[in-house]
Symmetry: C2
Subunit: 135 residues, 2 copies
DNA sequence: AGTGCTAGTCTCTTTTTGAGACCAACAACC
DNA sequence: GGTTGTTGGTCTCAAAAAGAGACTAGCACT
């Protein structure tokens, strides 16, 4: 009943906000996975080439095995990466990016590039904000 | 000492992974804010036009006031949005997107558009994954 | 016989998030 | 002049998520 209850997103898709749950709004449903603390990092690595579990763990030193397992499974569930088990001894598991994953990573890499280019500006904004908080 | 300890990101910036903490790696430092559950939603709204606190709360029905306050303060701290207090009675607060915010939103909106375009494919992948889990 | 590698899982603790009450100042209504 | 509503928050407590680290099984190498 709010006259602003219906809003058009920049994606061009109307998004009924009075009925906004995670499964209904594409932005929330898709982004809630990508937005995980480790997801973009893993996607960035797998966009280059396939990696094995242990490699990823070593490349991202401060992720726990538990969260690496979970992040990989979530990304696999959404169709961004593939999991392939090789019957070596001990068995090894290789993760690789799917076509869907690559198509997501194309726009996503632009955001990552922005982050690299504007990291200094963001850090400067933080310093300024924190200084004004003290006064 | 790992021969893969140094990796080049697609952003073109070398990222020393043996020294990878949140403050050192631009991707992690910047993305960890954007990746919040509510951040992209708020950015999407503020990219259209300025909004007041109460408007945002009504537009995103299932965010708690606590998280809206925190998300807005985090986005403001990183320099993406501006907070302006008007001395009306009761005082009103308007949030608007800064230039930095708009420059971030340009690539980010592409990802959001991808989410809208590929929501069906992601949901299909989930159904397939969940089905194969049961078997 | 002992050590190490694989890709995880299980448990416990700490951090983050969510739900909801509470706040002060003023305006409008009755 | 007392009640109600509106503003943009904060505070507390419960629930959910994340981090730390021990533990597993099967096999290879020494």
């Amino acid at each position: 009943m709010d006259n602003a209850a219906r809003v058009t997103t920049l994606a061009g898709e109307p998004c009924d906000m009075s009925n906004w749950d995670a499964g209904n709004c594409p932005v929330r449903d898709v982004m809630n996975q990508i937005a995980g603390k480790w997801s973009t990092l893993i996607l960035e690595l797998l966009a280059q080439r396939p990696y094995r579990f242990g490699e990823l763990r070593r490349l991202v030193p401060d992720i726990s095995q538990r969260m690496l397992t979970q992040t990989l499974r979530d990304l696999q569930r959404d169709g961004y990466i593939d999991r392939q088990v090789f019957p070596t001894k001990p068995p090894s598991v290789e993760y690789s990016m799917t076509e869907l994953g690559h198509s997501l990573f194309e726009p996503l890499s632009k955001v990552l590039a922005w982050a690299g280019d504007n990291h200094a500006a963001v850090k400067a904004a933080r310093v300024k904000f924190d200084a004004s908080e003290l006064g």
